[in-house]
């Protein structure tokens, strides 16, 4: 059974339809790169998966839980679905350690000592073990984003969502974040990532989904889809971002 199942999802903001019947299923261990022009609905699609955006039609199911069912306890679901945002969204008043341990302690009742070790572990994974006592404003954008990834990893999610996580970074900082992402991918994490990094998508993703006008316009294995697009829209998009 697939881990994520989107069935004919419709999302509207007032009159404007952002997602116009999107169906997609993601198996455990898959790495899905979602690409497309800004405004094509790719970030919205991602945010529907953990219930940040309510939907107006269709259904979203994650690991058997119907996300759009009003009776669903989203808090429970979100313990298993991590999300990393474009703008990091670290908690500025908390140290790196507290940023990472807050949810494990408060939500999962992990004892303090164990939480600290957990923080050390995930920070080592993102190569920032020495920053455990730093505050977010003492870190570069790339480091902040790596802490945000570590914070998400600390909840030991089954699925991770990445929403254009390198878009707010200076070009020279993009590499370090992508490297961490690759590391996470190598450990077998199921990932859905919205990205503008086509090269990265080709290298890491198992499948590429191209969004256009609120629909999935084209999808397939990364190398084939990016190498020989079947639709003129994807071809135009690729030539625009690659030049």
């Amino acid at each position: 059974m697939s881990l994520v199942e989107l069935n004919d999802v419709v999302k509207r903001y007032g009159q404007h339809t952002v997602l116009n019947g999107v169906s997609l299923s993601v198996d455990k261990g898959e790495i899905i790169a979602i690409i497309g022009r800004s405004g094509s609905g790719k970030s919205t699609l991602l945010r529907c998966v953990n219930g940040l955006e309510p939907i107006q039609g269709g259904s979203v199911t994650v690991d058997g839980t119907v996300v759009n069912d009003p009776g669903t306890d989203l808090r429970k679901l979100r313990q298993h679905v991590g999300i990393v945002f474009q703008s990091f969204n670290l908690f500025p008043h908390l140290s790196v350690e507290k940023n990472i341990t807050l949810a494990p302690k408060v939500v999962k009742h992990v004892p303090s000592g164990e939480a600290r070790r957990l923080a050390e572990n995930v920070l080592r994974k993102v190569g920032l073990a020495e920053k455990i006592d730093a505050y977010p404003d003492q870190l570069s954008g790339g480091q902040q984003q790596r802490v945000a990834i570590a914070r998400s990893l600390a909840m030991q999610p089954d699925l991770m969502l990445f929403d254009e996580i390198t878009s707010a970074l200076d070009p020279e900082l993009v590499g370090e974040v992508l490297k961490v992402l690759e590391e996470v991918a190598r450990e077998g994490m199921t990932m859905m990532l919205v990205t503008h990094e086509i090269g990265f998508a080709r290298k890491v993703a198992s499948r590429v989904v191209f969004m256009h006008e609120g629909r999935i316009w084209e999808q397939g294995p990364a190398a084939a889809t990016l190498g020989s697009p079947r639709t003129p829209e994807l071809e135009t998009f690729l030539s625009a971002v690659l030049h």
Partner: protein, 216 residues
């Protein structure tokens, strides 16, 4: 009998200042409780709660404090409920401070970006947990300067309680004037005492505000 304004009168004024401070403290505590409730209701997800709290603020901010004092002190006695000046003042000032503090604190809570709530919610924190661990600690920093600023207003406004016979600094000034017939000297002294109370707070509030701007 008319007598001189002497040092002993000054000491009486200082003694009455205790009641100004006591009323301020009670109003701030009561108003703080009401204000916290109002602020939290106004950011809650439940629309009726938001409306209720909004209505409260609307009514209180749209009516004079003096009228509330009259309602409690004179109004309730019509129904045979004897209300002491203390109770009437404490209730009126708490209602008044609650509305203003509620608005100040609501603004501070809403100044924290939506994305901070999202980040907390995405980690599985409940609404109350998000408030407690993420939103309130950040909003608190923003809230201190305007709250201290409002405290200064509150100290000065307690003088209104003089009209229902609550003996605080201003009322004591009136009484002293009546027996010495030295309004100019007495009220200048009263003003000086208010100033001595408010000035350090104003300075403190300014310093906090500056520090906040430098930090962010």
């Amino acid at each position: 009998m008319i007598r001189e304004f002497t040092f002993i009168d000054f000491l009486y004024l200082l003694a009455a200042t205790r009641w100004t401070l006591a009323l301020t403290a009670v109003a701030f505590a009561g108003g703080g409780l009401v204000g916290l409730t109002v602020a939290l209701l106004r950011v809650s997800a439940l629309a009726p709660m938001r409306w209720l709290a909004g209505l409260y603020v609307l009514v209180v901010q749209g009516t004079p404090l003096l009228v509330w004092l009259f309602v409690f002190f004179f109004g309730l006695s019509i129904f045979g409920i004897a209300v002491s000046p203390w109770i009437a003042a404490a209730a009126s000032f708490s209602i008044y401070a609650g509305a203003f503090l509620g608005e100040i604190w609501r603004g501070c809570l809403q100044a924290i970006p939506r994305t901070q709530w999202e980040a907390g919610g995405s980690l599985g924190l409940s609404f109350v947990q998000q408030l407690r661990y993420i939103i309130v600690p950040q909003a608190l920093r923003l809230a201190i300067p305007p709250t201290v600023g409002f405290l200064v207003q509150l100290i000065k406004n307690t003088s209104l309680a003089a009209v229902i016979g609550f003996i605080e600094l201003t009322r004591e000034g009136q009484l002293t004037t009546a027996s010495t017939f030295r309004p100019f000297t007495v009220y200048l002294t009263v003003a000086a005492i208010y100033f001595a109370l408010c000035f350090p707070l104003t300075q403190w509030s300014r310093r906090l505000e500056r520090r906040l701007h430098v930090a962010r």
